[in-house]
Amino acid sequence: MNNWTEITPLDEIPQLGSRVIKTDTMEIAVFRTAADEVFAVKNACPHKAGPLSEGIVHGNSVTCPLHNWNIDLASGEALGPDEGCTNTFPAKVDGGIVYIDLKNSSRAC
């Protein structure tokens, strides 16, 4: 059972970019890909907690601005030779509005 919270119109997030939302406990980065998919990921790189929202987005991943780890946006897992993962949240676009399920955080590893 999902618990969708309305976040923002999709247009407020640049393509291949992100916005940050602050909850009481953490920052969450909401990414928008070139194909207009959205992903919500805890804004902390599994390496040394770099701000993923400030990285460069490509395909379905983001490159952390601090040491260039690539993070898969869907699973929160580090790609390539690096290992580690960060929390992700279900996200969807409905009628041009972005929704996130803040209660169902998942962590793949």
Partner: protein, 812 residues
């Protein structure tokens, strides 16, 4: 009309000087060359391998007759110059030709010293100097059996080795009790002798030649003690005599050699001299490395650049006898109070000795394992204090432990600035860089591009190891160029060319045109493409913020704690009380925790929170400041000195010129950061010679310097040229900057770029081609129309607001 340059002596030093001169200025002179030998310039050093049958004459030609023709040089071979008329400024040759000169270059080399004993003029008595001598030796080897080589130095041993390879029975006669006493100490010489003896060479040590006996042809050698040996061939290799007869007859001051100053000029300032015929600060050199350095200096002055000085050389030696490794440099025989470090392993045939004074290497002798010779030689020349690694220094630059020895493993562990080719002064980094950027595959390619291994050849093994490793084992299959990232097979150069030639004006088009393998690139290629598009199509391309690194996107430097620092631009480092007050107000208003004066002559405000940035910029912008671009791959600062207004040494108004340069260049995006400086006189208080573009004012104008770098690897600038007016400074600066913007690889600073494409290429576009220079400058100014829009002001007014504001606070 062009000036006329005549070169007398078509040998290694003279022709190298011409090559250097052509690099500086191919058009300045009509050049005529006279050579007494019937050949074009060849590699004299390689006569030893030719004699040993390891190379042919064709292999060792350095400049073919075509080379002379292509460079418009008139070559007369087999015609020696017999007289110089300095009053009428012309030379006269054996065949009666007369040629006038404006500048004369003497490079007559030297002659073998023939010991003046009775019978020295008999048939079968030779020196070892040129192709003719080698031909005669090879001829003799076919008919005769017994050879005597007089002289157990470098040359004598190489001659003896060659004759032995041709089947002769060779005896070496040496006056001293140590072989190669000018290069070796006693233990090393003994090891060498033992090793040559096992190959079949015979030695008569401490033997003083008294007479050459025989009829028309030699039949033996008689010694001072009355003993005698049989000989059908005698090679005298006891030393060389600088060939100064021609110069002396023309009244040019000579001592042992033709005396030259630090600018390689003889006492007649129109007459230059280089090579073995020269005596500089009392020394006559007999190895190519110093002669090539002399050639560089002479060329610099002949091209009328006039800044180079030759200050003498320390030389090192290697013996070119296949299978014997030996190296020596400096003062290898210790004096009183010197210390020596010695490693001796007779079983392995290895001996190394370093002579140390005040913790600095003064000399080195190595036998059997010479791999680290170049490293010791570098430490020696640079006078490096070795205390930190004294205890392991004998084990080599990288004490490799258990990781296999052999050239390959060790050459890889050398640092980039380790010298590989001593003759031509080429470092590892240059070779690797040439292999990578120019796509070189063979030893010959590397020789052609870097000159490494093109003289004595002892470093060929190291170069091959570098090749094998840099290019990869099966080098045929390896791509000749490096792809910019895994998203594509294309290199930086391919991409730049495609964007330009096919007018690709947005990123999607580039991806499609060049068949990118990923949907939207990656964090390596996107910023590069964004830059290339911006640099090439300033009016058409829409800068893509999502393809920029965060610092450039947020227009501030992200600091360790996630806050940002902000640096307002201060043109030329000048400021007013109200500027300072405005900055102080911002600091107080936003609780900026720290401020600092930077090396680029402006003020850095640290610790600003991201969401305060737009407000901070608004306040600064209202006070008249624009962004300093301290965060970007962009034009950073123009550092200036006090200059003529205030400083008693100042020759020009360096501060005002700095402001003009900064007004011209601010806002410009670059492949990497880019810094300028202007100094008011050669005291150079603004450190202009380690900047990307530096101006040093002098009485008569402005020297323009390019390609400098502070930072990890300091590089001093190269002199581009000198100009007369501030307008020209701006034009040349704009043209150079634009050329760098259009042609360098993204994230390549000017220093490596200049080295990669070569200064002469840059000069050919900016100095020699006025139309090109003006066009570059125009393109630069055109691009500036679009980039001199202050990003801070735009953002203070609301642009890209999403970048700075979090979306909303949600309770969980």
């Amino acid at each position: 009309m062009k000036e006329r340059l005549v070169l007398v002596g078509n040998g290694m030093a003279g022709v190298r000087t011409l090559e250097e001169l052509l690099k500086y200025d191919p058009e300045h002179y009509d050049i005529t060359v006279f050579g007494a030998e019937p050949h074009p310039n060849y590699n004299r050093i390689m006569l030893s391998p030719v004699l040993a049958g390891e190379k042919t004459i064709d292999d060792i030609i350095l400049n073919s007759r075509d080379w002379y023709a292509e460079n418009g040089i008139t070559l007369h071979t087999g015609d020696a110059v017999v007289a110089i008329d300095r009053a009428a400024r012309k030379v006269k040759t054996e065949s009666g030709m007369e040629v006038g000169y404006d500048r004369l270059l003497l490079a007559t080399g030297s002659n073998p010293f023939i010991i003046p004993v009775p019978g020295a003029d008999k048939d079968g008595v030779l020196g070892f100097r040129d192709i003719a001598d080698v031909d005669k030796m090879l001829e003799a080897a076919k008919q005769y059996k017994k050879a005597v080589v007089i002289g157990g130095g470098l040359l004598g041993l190489e001659a003896a080795n060659g004759l032995m390879k041709n089947g002769m029975d060779v005896t070496i006669v040496h006056l001293m009790d140590i072989l190669m006493e000018r290069q070796l100490d006693h233990p090393a010489a003994e090891m060498l002798k033992a090793s040559l003896e096992t190959r079949g060479m015979k030695f008569l040590m401490q033997a003083s030649t008294a007479e050459i006996v025989g009829g028309d042809r030699v039949s033996g050698v008689k010694f001072a003690d009355g003993s005698e040996v049989e000989a059908d061939l005698v090679v005298m290799a006891v030393g060389i005599k600088p060939n100064i007869e021609l110069a002396r007859q023309a009244g040019i001051h000579c001592e042992r050699g033709i005396v030259v100053s630090d600018t390689m000029q003889t006492f007649d300032p129109r007459v230059y001299a280089v090579g073995e015929c020269v005596q500089h600060r009392g020394i006559c050199y007999g190895l190519v490395a110093p002669l090539f350095e002399q050639g560089k200096v002479a060329a610099n002055h002949l091209a009328q650049i006039g800044i180079a000085r030759y200050e003498g050389s320390v030389t090192s030696t290697k013996l070119k006898v296949t299978g014997i490794d030996l190296f020596s440099a400096g003062e290898f025989n210790e004096q009183e109070d010197d210390e020596t470090l010695v490693l001796q392993d007779p079983a392995q045939g290895v001996y190394k000795k370093l002579v140390i004074r005040d913790n600095r290497i003064k000399g080195a002798v190595m036998y059997g394992d010479t791999m680290d010779g170049t490293w010791y030689f570098q430490l020696l020349r640079e006078g490096t204090d070795i205390s930190d690694f004294r205890s392991t220094i004998l084990f080599g630059q990288h004490d490799v432990g258990d990781a296999g020895h052999g050239d390959t493993a060790r050459v890889l562990s050398l640092s980039d600035d380790a010298e590989i080719c001593g003759c031509n002064g080429v470092c590892k980094g240059e070779i690797v860089n040439a292999i990578q950027t120019k796509g070189l595959f063979t030893l010959d390619d590397v020789k052609a591009h870097t000159k490494a291994a093109s003289s004595c050849g002892s470093c060929a093994g190291l170069v091959e190891a570098l090749l094998a490793n840099t290019v990869g084992e099966g080098y045929d299959a390896a791509p000749s160029k490096k792809a910019i990232c895994a998203c594509t097979e294309h290199s930086h150069d391919d991409i730049i060319k495609a964007i330009k030639d096919h007018e690709l004006k947005d990123m999607r088009t580039v991806f499609d045109f060049l068949a990118w393998k990923t949907p939207d690139g990656c964090a390596t290629c996107r910023p590069a493409l964004n830059y290339y598009l911006l640099a090439n199509w300033p009016a058409d391309y829409q800068d893509d913020m999502q393809s920029r690194f965060i610092n450039e996107r947020a227009h501030g430097n992200i600091q360790k704690d996630g806050t940002y620092s902000v640096v307002p631009r201060m043109f030329g480092g000048l400021c007013t009380p109200s500027d300072l007050r405005a900055i102080a107000d911002v600091v107080e208003k936003y609780d900026v925790p720290e401020m600092k004066v930077t090396g680029g002559q402006r003020i850095d405000l640290f610790g600003i929170k991201k969401n305060d940035l737009p407000a901070v910029w608004k306040d600064l912008s209202d006070a008249g400041f624009v962004s300093g671009h301290a965060y970007g791959k962009a034009m950073r600062t123009v550092k200036t000195c006090a200059g003529k207004t205030w400083c008693r040494f100042g020759t020009q108004n360096s501060t005002a010129l700095g402001v003009k340069l900064e007004e011209l260049t601010w806002g410009s995006w670059m492949p990497h950061k880019f810094k300028l400086a202007v100094s008011g006189c050669p005291r150079n208080c603004a450190e202009a010679t380690i900047k990307d573009f530096g101006v040093v004012c002098v009485d008569s104008g402005y020297e323009l310097h390019v390609g400098g770098n502070g930072g990890i690897k300091v590089r001093v600038t190269d002199l581009l040229c000198k100009v007369d007016s501030e307008e020209e400074v701006l034009e040349y600066c704009g043209a150079f900057t634009q050329m760098y913007r259009e042609e360098a690889h993204y994230l390549e600073r000017t220093a490596p770029w200049v080295e990669r494409v070569s200064l002469s290429y840059i000069k050919s576009r900016i100095l020699d081609d006025e139309a090109e220079r003006k066009a570059l400058y125009e393109r630069f100014k055109f691009g500036q129309k679009f980039s001199q829009i202050d990003p801070w002001k735009q953002r203070a007014e609301g642009a890209e607001a999403h970048e700075f504001m979090p979306l909303e606070v949600v309770s969980q």
